[in-house]
């Protein structure tokens, strides 16, 4: 008993002894991010396929490889939507009142990009498209005023949100047409099952004023374009399963399909080169470069990972260089600055690899970036 008392008195005295020598730290403060984003930051979105109720988005600094913070983004998460001024982060999210059961509520959550705290939300119809992510399910109009959210119940429609006034405007039906691709300050396009497009025009209140259907510009049965189109200035770049590029010019209001060109020479095509992945295309605007993740494979390999990125001059429509990746990849993204980084990640092995996008050198790898990372965005 006596020995126990002696031991107890020592234990009780220990904190006091420590206090005499080291000034205790205050409660940990919460880090606040800088107001200006580093162009070498990247947001990695994660559907968390094995626990889909718990979607996430992670922010990583490409220069240091440092994990800067994250967002919790709900069930069946697709991806964030970043306005060009990065003044807010928009996140289309789905929640059920009992986790995986109960009443479904869909919201656009607004996050403060410095604190990563929610700063508000807009409730939208509980119909947001649940699918393998691409960047073309929820998009902003070109002036960043209206957010367009593609719905599928399986009835097809879009919801329109005024992000400036933080208000749901309307839902409009879009039978036969999917995705949302901005085509101007007051318009967006949708890709239709027949290989055509639908253009939707808005007024300054975000109300739909017109819908036009554009005739098919590719063969959706024999060589469909992927849903993972990317924007180059006023041109949308669609790429087909077999590696043909279908540009669509939106500078004049209505989309105008351009002349098809090929990512591959005939000998490369014979050797089985194909585009593939979840986010298999990326554009670097100021150098007019298209980055395409490619692999060698047979029919139906349009979602296979690749270990090669081929870079194209979009003006000359020619391949300019090849980058051999260190690891298999399903998603690539390029930073927007003039010394661009290329980010690469594989849904089956969540290590973010960061490359010099011009030289193709692997600069650093950041491991443990989520569970099933899908698409990436750069500010």
């Amino acid at each position: 008993m006596l020995r126990k008392l002696i031991f107890l008195s020592w234990v009780l005295l220990l904190p006091l002894a420590g206090q005499a020598e080291v000034k205790p730290e205050s409660l940990p403060p919460t880090v606040v991010l800088p107001a200006e984003p580093n162009p070498h930051w990247v947001w990695v979105n994660d559907i968390v396929f094995h626990h889909m109720v718990d979607g996430k988005a992670y922010l990583v600094d490409g220069d240091s490889g440092r994990f800067l913070g994250m967002l919790s983004t709900g069930m069946g998460f697709v991806g964030l939507v970043l306005p060009s001024d990065y003044a807010q982060i928009y996140s289309p999210e789905t929640y059920f009142s009992r986790g995986t059961r109960g009443k479904r509520t869909d919201v656009i959550t607004f996050y403060d990009p410095q604190t990563l705290m929610p700063s508000g939300e807009v409730v939208i119809p509980p119909k947001r498209f649940a699918a393998m992510p691409t960047n073309n399910y929820s998009v902003l109009t070109d002036d960043d005023r209206f957010l367009i959210i593609y719905n599928f119940t399986p009835a097809q429609s879009v919801s329109i949100v005024d992000v400036q006034e933080r208000r749901f405007i309307a839902e409009t039906e879009t039978a036969g047409c999917s995705l949302a691709l901005p085509s101007g300050e007051r318009s967006f396009m949708m890709l239709c099952g027949n290989g055509g497009l639908m253009t939707v025009s808005l007024n300054d209140k975000g109300e739909v004023t017109d819908k036009q259907r554009i005739k098919p510009f590719f063969d959706p049965q024999n060589d469909p374009v992927t849903e993972k189109a990317v924007r180059w200035g006023n041109t949308w770049i669609f790429v087909s399963f077999d590696g043909y590029v279908y540009p669509v010019d939106v500078s004049g209001g209505q989309p105008v399909p351009g002349k098809r060109w090929s990512l591959f020479t005939e000998s490369e095509r014979k050797a089985g080169w194909k585009p593939g992945g979840i986010q298999h295309l990326a554009v670097h605007e100021s150098s007019n470069s298209l980055y395409a993740l490619v692999h060698q494979g047979g029919k139906d390999t349009h979602k296979d990972p690749g270990q090669d990125v081929w870079v194209y001059d979009l003006k000359a429509q020619q391949q300019v260089r090849k980058i051999k990746l260190d690891k298999l990849s399903t998603s690539i993204q390029i930073s927007k600055d003039d010394a661009p980084l290329m980010f690469s990640i594989f849904i089956g092995n969540p290590t973010l690899d960061i490359y010099d996008a011009v030289r193709g050198d692997l600069l650093r790898s950041v491991d443990e970036i989520g569970f099933t990372p899908t698409i990436m965005q750069t500010p």
Binding site: F49, H50, H51, M52, V53, M75, G76, T94, F96, T100, R101, R104, P125, P126, F129, A130, A131, M132, T134, F152, T153, P154, A155, Q156, S157, E171, E173, T174, A175, G176, C177, S178, L179, L191, C192, G193, N194, G195, P220, Q221, N222, P224, V225, T226, E227, D300, T301, H302, K303
Partner: protein, 173 residues
């Protein structure tokens, strides 16, 4: 908005039927439905009028199993269900995507409906992704990237996927 849903659902399905390379499959699916009360779904299950079960070989817990040629998800056979039934406590999604798979036993092509089982979190076992005939999400009836639990009574929580034979994929004459 219920009227809007019904309207656009019908139109979407109509467009999907007409624009699909395997439009004939959709039409077969519609025919199989026969006297069903709502003969609208190109990929709806035909519960009363299915042909005899095909001869089987292979392991339904393996991704290589013949019916899984266009599946994308967790195999229900590993999750408390079977290749054509849902695990306890889950709810089947009546609408889904379809594939056409060759049965190695008889060499015939069968139309497979990949009905998702819904209402619980992901099963997490036997993840399998094969993409034979898979098309982008703007061709919904042929796309395995879509969470088809969206069409179930319990909404999008996805548990696992089944592979149900709808019939023989007879060639277009």
């Amino acid at each position: 908005m219920k009227w809007l849903d019904r309207f656009s659902e019908r139109s979407a399905r109509s467009v999907a039927r007409q624009s699909s390379r395997r439009g004939f499959i959709a039409r077969v699916g519609t025919m199989i439905l026969g006297g069903a009360a709502i003969p609208l779904l190109p990929v709806a299950r035909a519960s009363n009028n299915r042909p005899d079960a095909p001869a089987e070989s292979g392991d339904p817990r393996s991704c290589d199993y013949w019916r899984y040629c266009a599946i994308d998800g967790f195999l229900c056979d590993c999750c408390g269900g079977t290749y054509n039934s849902c695990p306890p406590g889950t709810t089947v999604s009546p609408i889904t995507w379809i594939g056409t798979c060759t049965n190695p036993v008889d060499g015939k092509d069968y139309i497979i409906s990949y009905n998702d089982c819904c209402g619980k979190s992901s099963c997490g076992r036997c993840l399998c992704n094969r993409n034979e005939g898979d098309k982008p999400v703007y061709q919904p009836p042929l796309s395995n990237d879509i969470n088809w639990c969206a069409g179930s009574s319990v909404d999008t929580p996805y548990n696992c996927s089944t592979a149900v034979v709808l019939g023989l994929a007879v060639a277009e004459s």
